[in-house]
Amino acid sequence: MDFTFEEQQVAFRDAVRKFLMVEAAPEMLREIWETESGRSRDLRAKLADQGITALSVPEEFGGIGLGDLDWVLINQELGYYAIPDSLSDTAYLAAWLLTRLPSDISLKKAWLPRIANGTARIALGHPVNPFVADAQLADLLLLWHNDEVHAVQRDQVKLSFNPSIEMSRRLYKVEWTPSDATRVAPARIGRDLWEGVLNRAALAVSAQQLGLAQRMLDLGIDHSAQRKQFGKPIGSFQAVKHQLADVAVKIEFAKPVVFRAAQALATNRPRAAVHVSHAKLAACEAAWLSARRSMQVHGAMGYTWEADLQMFMKRAWALDAAWGDRAFHKTRVAKFIFAEGSELGPGDTFN
């Protein structure tokens, strides 16, 4: 077992981090929130320039052909900077799904290069989510219908907007009619594909939650060092510093769980789904605790619009229920544990 990432993976993550530090300051995110689409073409183009959109596209279609482990690092950064974009829906999930469609080579040829160069947006409709994120800007929608995969153009669907409690999300109900013409994978193949999408999406959310948790912790630390009460920085009080120390513990214990899930998906482990659910629960717990504690440390300021903390808290709360809420993922873990003949004892601990 080796939990260290490759040097190249870390170097790429560091490059993305440096880029986002400059390009995704909170003031800029607030400006993007206020726009109707809630998305910035400029930011998306710059993200493509960084090579992020090409990450999961196979080399034959103009991409880099990397996968789940690389995305875990990148998604942490997208979370840390609360990037207002469903970037990984297109560049990670849709790329993964399109690549694995049984035949339709024309569909791959049409879309994968465009994903790689950052000119296409693809939205995903899965029954675990009542809404489709960013459907209004999607050039193509990949939609679930009785386990089949359907590829539908935006002008073939009817959208109704549902404003989220989190300003940067753009959620839509999608009405559409499935037909032979839109079907690109039958149910017997689609079932596994959708399971793969769900697991990768939940993993992506987990990694973003880790990033969000870290950001909220960092904001809490900054505030506790600057804010003075009783004549000294509030961070010097044990009652305050222990709150944030708890968060650090929670985040560090969630990380290997998320990394394990990524590795399980990347290597097609039979229990990958259980690892993913565990990761989602652990990362969401960490993000929840970080939000709660950082807000507590911020005092009343943490409850205001003005303080940046709210941007990250609301994202963390919203992602908590995305791609399977707690009950969904706990049920998946419980089903595995209680299944007839589950291998739980010594010798199976790390499978």
Binding site: G231, A300, T304, W305, Q310, A322, A327
Partner: protein, 395 residues
């Protein structure tokens, strides 16, 4: 100990219920269950009319002595009143700062003239109050008040400084303010307690936008704002004593109504879980059962805390109350959102969803306002358990 209701109490309960049934109807119908914490912006005009409706029925200030316009109800009957008020869906009380905080303070510490001037307006629902304690530099360290006040030659007072997190200042006529009257004094010494009209040139009110989008709180700026000579409560320099007496009221009887509202919210969470099927999930069931237990514990403890105590002095069990309810309620907010699942993520006007979203948002602040968790635990340790005090920097 006798936990059985008496027959007089039952008759009183029926009287309140009947009055609420007949009066919280017609044009007041839309106020049902509105205006609670997190929803204080809801229809303030109509809610003030409702206050006057209550006043006409003599249902404001029911715990005050009769000589000051109240009913002088026993603790048991106050509990019954709050229960029936909440059961009927009575709206959040616009007058609660007057009735629950400044009124009792004036009754305890005010001059005869102040009582005559201010108590009738509170009882009648014609004058509303805001609380001016917190400042940018005085939150948990409440005694670190920087707002100054001084007396002019004619005896009137002037106030200079800033208050913050002032609920409903934009809907109120008056504000009570803690300000430093002795230049160079520090901490709890040298403070004075003043009553000021908000509609005057020296006062500017600026709303604070909350993370949920609404604005129940304000910043209030004082630039030479004036208070009449007779509107100082207590003696100059004794403002801290008056203010602390008032905070004890805040943790006392006035929390009973809030608890009944919690019971209503709990009911909403259960209904939502039944409606969307999450009530079948063992995780959700356990948490709901725990919440129910917590609600009962809170209620019993509040009644224990209040029974036998008439004055403003805090009893030992009162120290644990704020800590308990705020953490319980914050957890209920999370439970509500977990029950809603993805549906809770979307802005909604659905009466089964919207109140739960508001509950979630506003309950995030419960463990912060009116004494943070950390301050509450220090109080329990230092006052309740006589543990050594946290070292304070020398002034």
């Amino acid at each position: 100990m006798n936990l059985q209701p008496s027959t007089t109490d039952e008759a009183f309960r029926a009287e309140v219920a009947e009055w609420m049934r007949r009066h919280l109807s017609g044009r007041f119908e839309s106020l049902r269950h509105r205006g609670g914490p997190g929803d204080e912006e809801a229809d303030p005009v109509l809610r003030k009319e409702w206050e006057r409706e209550l006043a006409a029925g003599r249902w404001t200030c029911v715990g005050w002595p009769a000589e000051h316009g109240g009913r002088g109800l026993s603790i048991e009957q106050q509990v019954i009143f709050h229960e029936e008020y909440a059961r009927a869906g009575g709206p959040g009380r616009m007058g609660h700062i007057g009735e629950g905080l400044i009124g009792p303070t004036l009754i305890a510490f005010g001059s005869e003239a102040q009582k005559r001037r201010f108590l009738p307006g509170i009882v009648a629902g014609t004058e509303y109050w805001a609380q001016g304690y917190s400042e940018p530099g005085a939150g948990s360290d409440l005694a670190n008040v920087q707002t100054r006040c001084w007396q002019e030659a004619d005896g009137s007072w002037r106030v200079q400084g800033q208050k913050v997190w002032t609920s409903l200042a934009h809907e109120s006529e008056w504000i009570f303010v803690l300000a430093r009257s002795e230049p160079g004094s520090k901490g709890r010494n040298g403070l004075s307690f003043l009553l000021l009209p908000l509609a005057q040139p020296g006062v500017r009110i600026q709303p604070i936008r909350q993370m949920g989008g609404g604005s129940e709180f304000n910043e209030v700026f004082f630039d030479g704002a004036a208070a009449e000579a007779g509107h100082l409560v207590g003696k100059p320099g004794e403002g801290w004593k008056v203010a602390m007496g008032l905070l004890e009221f805040e943790r006392g009887v006035s929390t009973l109504g809030q608890q009944m509202h919690f019971a209503y919210e709990f009911d909403l969470v259960v209904k939502a879980a039944q409606a969307n099927g999450s009530a079948a999930n063992p995780q959700v069931r356990q948490r709901i059962a725990q919440a129910w237990c917590g609600l009962r514990v809170m209620r019993y403890n509040a009644l224990r805390m209040l029974s036998g105590g008439e004055g403003p002095g805090l009893k030992r069990e009162a120290l644990i109350y704020k800590y308990y309810w705020s953490n319980w309620h914050r957890e209920l907010g999370k439970l509500a959102l977990d029950v809603l699942g993805p549906a809770g993520d979307v802005v909604s006007d659905d009466p089964r969803i919207r109140p739960l979203q508001q509950l979630f948002f506003f309950s995030r602040a419960d463990t912060i306002y009116a004494g943070t968790n950390e301050i509450q635990l220090n109080l329990i340790a230092e006052r309740g358990l006589d543990m050594p005090r946290e070292p304070r920097p020398t002034a």
